[in-house]
């Protein structure tokens, strides 16, 4: 049955006091309200991330208060801060050790592009060169509201995932990888300098 028809039928039935749902909705509803982030901070953005979890901003309202100290128990990695080239292999390795389904939020100017330190000799110009990022947050650092907005964006993304079909998410497609190559320390920089399978920047044509 088509999506629109299903939604219409559900709305019609609810008028008569009958609650219906689908397995997909229940599954995604459960997942999106229990996203456990990894206890992982890199720089000043991590301070904002910590503030987001505390009483004033209270990320627990969204089911994400349980920061796990082990990647084996985490669903989400918030890359909060400058990723140095020396740190990048460790970030990729942590991401590889997380079980599927897993998500990435790149928090702040540094994590998405290198930010103010872009021209530094040891600064990675965005973690999306090596791992697939679900939500990018600009800002230096972004306020806790921005992280909450990114988190809600991620929740929306999760709730729209389909269990089957062409557009099913990566963790339900055996063809797609769940681990990504860890870059090696080279003589002049990281090798390779990006993973072409995940890094698809917009090219500026002049």
């Amino acid at each position: 049955m088509e999506q629109a028809e299903t939604a219409q039928l559900k709305a019609e039935l609810s008028k008569h006091g009958i609650f219906t749902t689908t397995l997909e909705d229940i599954y995604n509803w459960g997942r999106k309200n229990s996203v456990w982030p990894l206890t992982f901070g890199l720089a000043c953005c991590a301070i904002e991330m910590i503030a987001t979890t505390m009483a004033r901003y209270d990320l627990a309202r969204f089911g994400a208060e349980v920061f796990r100290a082990s990647p084996r128990q985490a669903d989400l990695i918030i890359v909060s801060g400058t990723v140095t080239k020396k740190m990048a292999p460790q970030v990729v390795r942590l991401y590889n050790q997380m079980p599927e389904p897993k998500y990435v939020i790149a928090m702040g100017a540094c994590a998405i592009s290198g930010g103010p330190f872009r021209d530094g000799y040891n600064v990675l110009r965005g973690i999306d060169r090596y791992i697939p990022v679900d939500v990018h947050i600009p800002g230096c650092p972004p306020r806790p509201e921005a992280l909450i907005d990114a988190f809600m964006t991620l929740q929306k993304k999760i709730s729209e995932q389909h269990l089957a079909g062409e557009k099913r998410p990566r963790h339900l497609d055996a063809e797609l990888p769940s681990e990504f190559p860890v870059p090696a320390y080279g003589e002049h920089g990281l090798e390779p300098s990006e993973n072409a399978e995940v890094w698809n920047p917009l090219k500026i044509i002049q």
Binding site: Y121, G186, E187, H188, G189
Partner: protein, 207 residues
């Protein structure tokens, strides 16, 4: 001497009296801070450092900062006024004298005394050039606080500190071959992606 800024001439004279045969040179700092430094010769540097730390009138027990400088080959032109006899009349003529200063690397030490509450005394060590004579004596045996800072200088400038107990890279990984703080360091080209128009941007706007 308590609480005073040390006179660099007096420090130089004291070192010369204590360490015979040493070659010292005062490098004048023309800025308002007036923090003049002393260039040491590498052969006597360790002996001089021990003297400055142990001598009761200096007692420079705290090395607050070690840093590096990269000097590329530089051409210095000076105007020199000379008197010449032109047409039988003595006149003053300005001549421009050009000298090429060979490139070198420098390590700079800022020393203070916690006991005497004076300082800084600024020492400079120079390498022979930037290519193959790149070692200076390590002062870590005298001031332990120099250990990580000398490692950082080794990492970023490529100065080899002879006598350092654990000379490894500090910030970059061990396999890294370059020295990023050198003035002729060029970052890997792969980092220039999105906005990298080849050639001169002015030419592109015409086309």
């Amino acid at each position: 001497m308590n609480g005073q800024i040390l006179n660099v001439e007096q420090v130089k004279a004291a070192i010369e009296a204590a360490v015979p045969d040493c070659q010292l040179e005062i490098l004048v700092n023309g800025s308002p801070s007036g923090q003049h430094s002393i260039v040491l010769d590498n052969a006597h540097a360790l002996e001089i450092a021990r003297f400055l730390r142990n001598d009761s009138s200096f007692s420079l027990d705290f090395c607050s900062n070690v840093t590096g400088v990269d000097w590329l080959d530089a051409e210095v032109s000076e105007k020199i006024k000379t008197k010449k006899i032109i047409d039988g009349v003595e006149t003053e003529v300005e001549e421009i004298k050009k000298t090429v200063l060979p490139g070198r690397l420098e390590a700079i030490y800022h020393l203070f005394s916690m006991e005497k509450k004076h300082g800084p005394v600024i020492l400079r060590l120079r390498t022979g050039n930037r290519i193959d004579q790149i070692s200076v004596p390590s002062l870590t045996p005298v001031w332990r606080s120099a250990e990580f800072q000398e490692r950082e200088i080794f990492d970023l400038y490529g100065i080899v500190f002879e006598g350092h107990p654990d000379l490894r890279r500090l910030l970059m990984w061990d396999e890294f071959k370059d020295h990023p703080m050198r003035k002729d360091y060029v970052a890997p080209a792969e980092d220039d992606d999105l906005l990298a128009p080849a050639g001169n941007p002015a030419d592109q706007s015409k086309g």
